[in-house]
């Protein structure tokens, strides 16, 4: 059946599509945009329904990967604004530290120069780096919010991601805000070598201060979260939530299979698997995430008077020293 006829026949059944399909002037391209194919169940879904359902397949519950700004829009109830503008800065979300961009401290080059990889990633993702950080209002709660974006170099953590997460934690400390971090990352960024590795310590040390200050940190792990992010801030939340459908681990599946010379079970490193083994507090479907976070924030409001915070001398976050690129 030709695409157009197929859509037409579908239309008569579902009647969900706004655009008039009988209008023959509509191009095939536009038609394609109105419908989305589910990767998992291969069902053609009206894009509008699918977007309204937080990009979760209404048929099989497959959670499509979403970018940082779309995530922020969903969490702050600004999806429509996001659909139009691709961003969503408003009284509900103000970006912080958005001007930080990668340097190339090693002058790294593999099959492609790191500098040119960065340029490609910026064009493709329309982001300055693999995380967007800022202050958000969730329900009635002010939070320091960071959201990683896998479409920028696989969400890898280099100096900029480490610095933005650390500044965000320091911002939470200064303003006594709870911290919510959404992770999605292949791990530390190889092209920045040991600089990337040390971001695990930089962020972890800042979280030690947040912990001592008695402030709440909710870590939300989304598809996929691996390597250096799993082994640093990803798993340091007071509460660790995995989004439905996320795969989470330290080592990659293939590396483990090669090492132990054994096939791993199909559900290995899925959110459900990790929940079973006690590594997560809960697995939450995307449409329920915003509500879950708001409830948890509400229940943890007495954090201002936590006895940990009273017993510890709280040293305010020191202003971050100006950091220069180590090589020029």
């Amino acid at each position: 059946m030709p695409l157009r006829d197929w859509f037409a026949s579908r239309k008569s059944n579902t009647d969900k599509l706004d655009a008039s399909l009988s209008n023959q002037k509509i191009s095939d391209d536009e038609l394609c945009r109105l419908w989305t194919l589910c990767f998992q169940c291969h069902e053609q879904l009206p894009t509008k329904d699918f977007t309204q359902n937080a990009k979760v397949c209404p048929k099989c519950d497959y959670h499509f990967r979403i970018g940082a700004w779309e995530r922020i829009a969903q969490l702050t109830g600004q999806e429509e604004y996001f659909q139009e503008h691709g961003r969503c800065e408003s009284q509900w979300f103000q970006e912080l530290f958005g001007n930080l961009t990668s340097a190339d401290p090693l002058g790294f080059e593999d099959t492609q120069a790191y500098r040119s990889r960065i340029e490609d990633a910026r064009k493709k993702s329309k982001l300055n780096e693999a995380i967007v950080t800022g202050e958000a209002v969730l329900g009635s709660h002010r939070v320091a919010l960071g959201v990683m974006d896998f479409s920028y170099l696989g969400g890898s953590m280099g100096s900029v991601v480490g610095e933005k997460v650390t500044r965000l934690i320091e911002y939470a400390l200064e303003n006594r805000l709870p911290l919510v971090l959404f992770s999605s990352s292949g791990g530390a960024r190889m092209q920045e070598g040991t600089f990337s590795l040390m971001q695990m310590v930089k962020t972890g040390a800042a979280l030690a201060r947040l912990h001592e200050a008695g402030l709440l940190f909710i870590s939300v792990l989304t598809e996929p979260t691996f390597g250096g992010v799993t082994a640093s801030y990803g798993t340091l939340g007071d509460i660790i939530i995995a989004e439905e459908g996320a795969r989470i681990g330290f080592a990659g599946r293939r590396v483990i299979e090669q090492t132990i010379r054994q096939k791993l079970p199909a559900d290995f490193q899925t959110a459900g698997y990790l929940l079973k083994y006690g590594q997560l507090d809960m697995v939450v479907r995307r449409p329920s995430l915003r509500g879950t976070l708001i409830e948890l924030l509400r229940l943890h409001q007495p954090y201002q008077t936590s006895h940990i915070a009273q017993n510890q001398k709280i040293t305010g976050a020191k202003k971050a020293p100006k950091v220069k690129a180590a090589t020029s």
Binding site: L106, I256, V323
Partner: protein
């Protein structure tokens, strides 16, 4: 014990064998070959100096992984020949011997020492899992760090690991979380922490015992985000590019010192630590004691924690 030559050392070893042969010949046959022997010796010295001065990162990596390189337990034995109590177990059912820990004494002061242990042969490697720890090892380490904090002992960590063990149990038991928790807790320890990388320090598996006030590398040791082999197979899609990756990653002690990521390089005996383990241990001891001195001189635990924070806070290269 005779040294097993590395591939790139073989020409030098061949020259030395030749010299020995000539020396024996001149004795047994009572002919004077002194001129020839002297000439060869000078030549060998020149070759040796040039060889070890122009080591590539990949050659350093081979030295760092030499099977005769002093291990963590060897070093403890040399640093504290009379006092060593190994402390075992995570108190949750396991003693992961990829990480060993215990109390030693240097110049009258007790230290808590933790290290990843590589074996020298297959039997030892099976006991210590090639220095690749599981979550239980990191949790044992945390227990011992807390012990040190309670009894006000400085902590020395000795790192030589290809990384945490990539296994199924490790993922079930939270290897990522175990490392992350150690990073966070080491950052806020109220005692000085000194870290010495003895061989390879690879990825998060090294950081799990690696957060310190002072980090020193043995001259040929390296500290890397991923093993050069792993990096090559991901970025070049073939492990054969490992030496290219070793170069590109800038992981040698001198690179890292220049970047300000580490605090010092401990010079090794010519050819590497395994040529003279005692000399190497002597230098480690000297450096560690100086490091401790410079940390304690900052004041009390608040200053030590602050110095540790500032040290890592400043690592990163970016534009704004």
């Amino acid at each position: 014990m005779s040294i097993q030559p590395l591939e790139f050392e073989k020409p030098l070893f061949a020259m030395k064998d030749k010299i020995n042969e000539l020396e024996q010949m001149s004795q047994s046959m009572n002919v004077s070959l002194e001129g020839e022997i002297e000439r060869l010796k000078t030549q060998a010295d020149e070759v040796q100096i040039k060889l070890y001065r122009t080591l590539t990162p990949a050659q350093r990596l081979q030295i760092a992984r030499h099977p005769q390189r002093p291990s963590c337990l060897d070093l403890i034995q040399m640093l504290s020949p009379d006092v060593w109590f190994e402390l075992h177990g995570d108190r949750c059912g396991t003693d992961d011997r990829a990480i060993i820990g215990g109390i030693m004494e240097i110049e009258g002061r007790p230290w808590m020492v933790l290290g990843t242990q590589k074996g020298k042969n297959m039997k030892e490697n099976l006991v210590h899992n090639f220095g690749m720890a599981n979550p239980e090892g990191y949790r044992k380490a945390l227990r011992l760090f807390q012990h040190a904090e309670k009894f006000n002992m400085p902590i020395l960590t000795l790192i030589d690991t290809p990384g945490a063990y990539p296994g199924m149990d490790g993922e079930q038991h939270g290897i990522g979380q175990a490392i992350a928790m150690n990073i966070r807790e080491m950052a806020r320890m109220h005692v000085p922490i000194i870290s010495v990388v003895m061989g390879e320090a690879s990825s998060g598996g090294a950081l799990g015992i690696g957060v310190a006030n002072k980090i020193y590398l043995l001259e040929h040791a390296l500290y890397t985000v991923i093993s050069p082999e792993g990096c090559a197979s991901i970025l070049w899609r073939s492990a054969e590019y490992a030496s290219r990756a070793a170069e590109a990653l800038k992981i040698t002690s001198h690179d890292l010192l220049e970047f300000g990521i580490i605090d010092g390089v401990i010079e090794e005996p010519t050819g590497g630590a395994h040529y003279d383990p005692n000399l190497c241990a002597e230098r480690v001891k000297e450096t560690v004691l100086l490091g401790l001195e410079s940390v304690t001189s900052l004041g009390g635990s608040a200053e030590w924690i602050q110095q540790r924070y500032d040290k890592y806070r400043g690592i990163g290269a970016f534009c704004e």
